[in-house]
């Protein structure tokens, strides 16, 4: 049984001070624990983008779209197979390549390339993309994201990139701008090729 609180001078200055002191002490202790824990939780590991070799130049026939795989930049040692990434790579010229993210821009499922239909199709909600990554049908709000590609001597290299988060559906005007962005990405890829 808990005894009732002793009566005394109600809300005396000393008691008020001690109450506030106790609450403050608790808050300080909570902050001392909470700040580093929270920062550890919220802090995202920053990894540099690196060029990864995905094959040798003569391994890719012009016009063919193939799956290439490469390792994430500086994967944690316990990542295992989950540190791998796939991309759809198409050779479009002697030194020119296009690399598409496998992530459907709807909800991130892996799109498949159908070589005879020349379409990317998503198994989740049926999104379809044309061979250049534009949305052909279904729910995806944006074209497939492209990775920068470059050719260094005999090696074809892809610049590792974060998993693309589509974000809110773009306005129509913004979408035009975004397509420009995708083309810029493509140009960069070509530029990378020509500098080799």
């Amino acid at each position: 049984m808990i005894a009732p609180a002793p009566s005394g001078p109600p809300e005396g200055g000393r008691r008020r001070f001690l109450s506030r002191l106790s609450i403050l002490a608790g808050a300080v202790a909570a902050a001392l624990v909470g700040i580093p824990s929270g920062r550890f939780l919220l802090g995202l590991r920053k990894v540099p983008q690196v060029w990864r070799r995905v094959g040798s130049l003569d391994g890719f026939a012009i016009g063919n779209t193939v799956e290439v795989t490469f390792l994430d930049p500086s994967p944690l040692p316990w990542s295992g197979v989950s540190a791998r990434t796939a991309a759809w790579l198409r050779r479009i010229g002697d030194q020119r390549f296009l690399a598409f993210s496998v992530h459907c821009t709807h909800l991130g499922c892996p799109v498949r390339w159908l070589p005879d239909a020349e379409l990317f199709m998503c198994p989740c909600h049926g999104g379809v993309f044309y061979e250049d990554g534009r949305v052909a049908s279904g729910p995806p709000p944006r074209p497939l994201v492209q990775y920068p590609v470059r050719v260094r001597g005999d090696a074809v290299e892809i610049l590792t990139s974060p998993v693309p988060i589509t974000g809110p559906r773009p306005e129509a005007s913004e979408l035009g701008h975004y397509r420009g962005g995708a083309n810029a990405c493509e140009r960069r890829a070509r530029g990378g090729g020509s500098t080799s």
Binding site: R45, P77, R84, L107, C109, A117, G126
Partner: protein
């Protein structure tokens, strides 16, 4: 009968029987014919405890690393007991989701969330959302191919948040890509964060059940009047109350035992859900599907119009929270009986029908291309050479068959084309092939040479009375 000496010694020092005895024997109103409806809450709690026990056992064998989790689960599933424990955890999760849903519906229909039990409802609503969080993260911890893609899909959905989307999406993944930190984050969420909150909410919920007393079955024409309810309830208990232990508790105990027996029985008979292929993102031909509890949402995201997508993904869950919070605050008094609240019945029926129907739609996923479609056989095509046979080949090669049905073969996203030759003229066919539609690509640049003519010939030959 005298209690053993050791117990009397312990009880004198702890005051346990003086403290707990009255709690166990607290009076509850007689529930009459609806008595068995009152077992759902305690059964949910027992399902949670089942999850705690089996989950703790699994955690002793599960390796929380993106690289090894899959193999550790294979190991667990390969042992005779591990198989049953993993199965019990999986089916226990299903039981908990079903029971908490049924409990929430029971409380809603009986108006038990009204005065003075509004905070009971709010703590229960928190438990409902936390349970769904457990179901989602638990499916992901299976960390097979579907588990891997579930992490990506979760990040994409969170990423639809305005302004902060990109950061939130990568926060869910614990980095810029799925990797070593991703699984650990979901493991900590599933095993520490959410269960910690569940313990707190359960404690509050149970405290409030005792503090406010369990609600009596509603009576038509006796609305809740906050000014007089507590006095009336106290008097009602004095007149008709019976001790919870054992007069009401026995039903809880028997039903909970049945729940546990069914879960363990199913686990022993069926074993745990099959592990898919390894979480290797380079295995592209994955078809991620959520477990049954989110299959309806998977379907909803397919059938809603495109423009509403961001609203549904971001505001949909928020609206659910707003509804759950606002309900007891807005409708905290008045009639409790469902017959006096027809909208409540209609709302529950609508939600149940929606979830049931969309789950079935999600299981079929008619919008998904049927990648396993095979080329049409000659007896369906009706020709082995000539333009019709060539057209049938084009129809398959160009991916048409993945989405269109022909004589029972192929996909079901687009219209069934088995008799399209009866329906559409050559020009109409041409228009559709060229311009495509919201859910069909345009083939204007894809068909070369004679392919278009062959395709048209094939489609024109799809008639009820084939020539």
């Amino acid at each position: 009968m005298r209690a053993p000496r050791a117990w009397r010694w312990f009880d004198e020092l702890t005051g346990l029987s003086r403290g707990l005895g009255p709690i166990l024997r607290h009076p509850v109103p007689p529930a009459g014919r609806s008595a068995w409806l009152y077992v759902l809450g305690s059964a949910t709690l027992v399902a949670f405890l089942l999850q705690v026990v089996t989950g703790t056992a699994l955690a002793t064998g599960y390796v929380t690393s993106s690289g090894d989790a899959y193999d550790s689960l294979r190991f667990i599933s390969g042992t005779a007991v591990g198989r049953v424990v993993r199965g019990a955890h999986a089916y226990g999760a299903s039981a908990m989701v079903i029971l908490i849903g049924a409990h929430a519906i029971r409380v809603y229909l009986m108006g038990a969330y009204k005065y003075p039990r509004q905070v009971n409802w709010l703590s229960g609503a928190a438990l409902l959302l936390l349970t769904l969080g457990m179901a989602f993260t638990g499916q992901l911890l299976r960390w097979d191919q579907t588990g891997y893609w579930t992490a990506v899909i979760a990040a994409e959905q969170a990423g639809r948040t305005p302004a902060l989307g990109d950061w939130i999406g990568h926060f869910v993944l614990a980095g810029s890509t799925v990797g070593g930190a991703t699984l650990s984050r979901f493991f900590a969420t599933h095993v520490f964060f959410i269960p910690g909150l569940v313990y707190l909410a359960v404690a509050l919920h149970l405290y409030l059940v005792l503090h406010n007393g369990i609600s009596e079955p509603p009576v038509l024409g006796r609305p809740v009047e906050p000014a007089t309810y507590r006095a009336w309830y106290r008097e009602h208990l004095e007149r008709e109350g019976r001790p919870f232990w054992p007069e009401a508790a026995w039903r809880d105990a028997v039903f909970a035992m049945l729940v546990v027996a069914v879960v363990l029985g199913v686990a022993a008979a069926l074993g745990p859900p099959e592990l898919g292929r390894p979480p290797d993102p380079t295995l592209i031909d994955a078809s991620p599907r959520p477990d049954w509890y989110f299959l309806w949402y998977f379907a909803v995201l397919s059938v809603i119009p495109k423009w509403s997508e961001d609203v549904v993904i971001v505001l949909g869950p928020l609206l659910l929270v707003v509804f759950l919070v606002a309900l007891p605050l807005v409708a905290g008094r008045g009639e409790r009986h469902p017959l006096a609240r027809p909208w409540a019945i209609a709302g529950v029926a609508a939600v149940v029908v929606l979830v049931w129907h969309e789950s079935r739609v999600g299981a079929v996923a008619p919008w998904s291309p049927r990648f396993d479609a095979r080329p049409l056989p000659a007896d369906v095509v009706g020709a082995t050479e000539g333009p019709i046979a060539t057209g049938a080949r084009v129809f398959y090669d160009r991916g048409c068959l993945y989405c269109h049905l022909v004589s029972g073969r192929g996909g079901i996203r687009g219209p069934d084309l088995s008799t399209v030759g009866d329906r559409l003229s050559r020009e109409q066919l041409l228009t559709r092939i060229y311009s495509g539609a919201a859910n069909m690509p345009s083939y204007v640049t894809k068909l070369r040479g004679q392919e278009l003519e062959s395709l048209l010939a094939f489609l024109a030959s799809r008639q009820r009375n084939a020539p």
